[in-house]
């Protein structure tokens, strides 16, 4: 039998240009086919199904697809989002410094104040690191964000990041209940008893 669909969620991926936001969404990067089309036109958003505690959540994941370069992210991009993944490049301190700007923008445009945030320090497979893990962790704690270091290249931590974020959103019932009224079944008596959500869900696919 198919699992029940718990809810549908809108997730944003934001951060400076070149930090690897788009590639965070890619699980396979071999060269058998030419992904020319997506590269030329650009991907607007993706629907992904993720399993959390035996329930399926459908995610609509929006990547800025380069618009951040021109600072043209519109309020509609942010509207209704329940989760946001904030990405920086651990080999470029400037992308870490700019996180404050992104948080400000988020605060300005987000229609909810309980949006779940996750910080991703990307490209840890490179050796010219400029931002160490502790700095990332500290920043995340200060702003009540989940934190993970990742490498899209090795796919380390990426699946984990999505699962943790979704887990956290689901643990914040006010954030998604209203979205699920006409979609499948609500989670029964699952809430509570699931303590700190950081770590422990890294099923590398």
């Amino acid at each position: 039998m198919e699992e029940d669909i718990l809810t549908t969620l809108k997730i944003l991926i934001i951060g400076e240009s070149g930090v690897g936001k788009s590639s965070l969404l890619l699980r396979f990067t071999d060269d058998t086919f030419d992904p020319e089309l997506a590269a030329t036109i650009g991907v607007d958003f993706k629907v992904k199904t993720i399993s959390v505690d035996g329930n399926k959540a459908k995610l609509a994941i929006w990547d800025t697809a380069g618009q951040e370069r021109f600072r043209t992210l519109t309020p509609s991009y942010y509207r209704g989002a329940q989760g946001v993944i904030l990405v920086y490049d651990v080999t470029r301190r400037d992308t870490f410094v700019k996180l404050d700007n992104w948080l400000n923008e988020l605060e300005t445009y987000c229609t909810r104040n309980d949006i779940v945030k996750m910080l991703v320090g990307n490209k840890i497979d490179k050796d010219n690191r400029e931002v160490d893990r502790n700095e990332g962790l500290k920043f995340a704690r200060k702003h009540s964000m989940l934190f993970i270091e990742a490498s899209a290249k090795t796919r380390d931590g990426v699946q984990c990041a999505f699962e943790e974020l979704v887990e956290k959103i689901i643990q914040t019932p006010g954030l998604w209940e209203s979205e699920s009224h006409n979609r499948g079944v609500r989670l029964s008596d699952e809430e509570g008893g699931r303590g700190g959500s950081c770590g422990g869900y890294c099923s590398m696919l």
């Binding site: 198919e2 969404l25 699980r27 089309l37």
Partner: protein, 120 residues
């Protein structure tokens, strides 16, 4: 090319899960889409097609599609930015495509070409 009749169940739905040809990512679960015949032009998948150059479209006419009416029916799928009033569908995991077609004028129709996917 004749389509494989065993792909369609008695009620016209997909009897097998629909997967990405390249990476196996699951696009549609069993029984979630209806077979629909419609002539749609999709840019070629494997060759370097320059979509920016519309005077030289390297396209293919495809007729058999899996049709769904809600984007959240998909297990995994990516939508390109608008090309005219069309969004092409690509694999969510590897971005190969286009595997399907969606017109902004038909808000609740999403087509996935049978020839552009694999069946489990």
């Amino acid at each position: 090319m004749r389509m494989d009749e065993t792909l369609v169940s008695a009620d016209g739905k997909n009897s097998r899960a629909v997967l990405c040809q390249r990476c196996g990512c699951r696009v549609l679960s069993v029984g979630t889409a209806t077979l629909a015949k419609r002539e749609l032009l999709l840019p070629s998948m494997k060759k370097k097609s320059s979509l920016a150059d519309e005077s030289n479209p390297d396209t293919e006419l495809l007729v058999e599609h899996w049709l769904v009416h809600d984007m959240f029916t998909f297990e995994n799928v990516g939508f390109t930015k608008d090309v005219g009033n069309v969004k092409f569908l690509v694999c969510a995991d590897c971005e190969v495509g286009p595997i399907g077609w969606h017109s902004l004028e038909e808000k609740s129709n999403f087509y996935v070409a049978l020839q552009r996917v694999r069946h489990e």
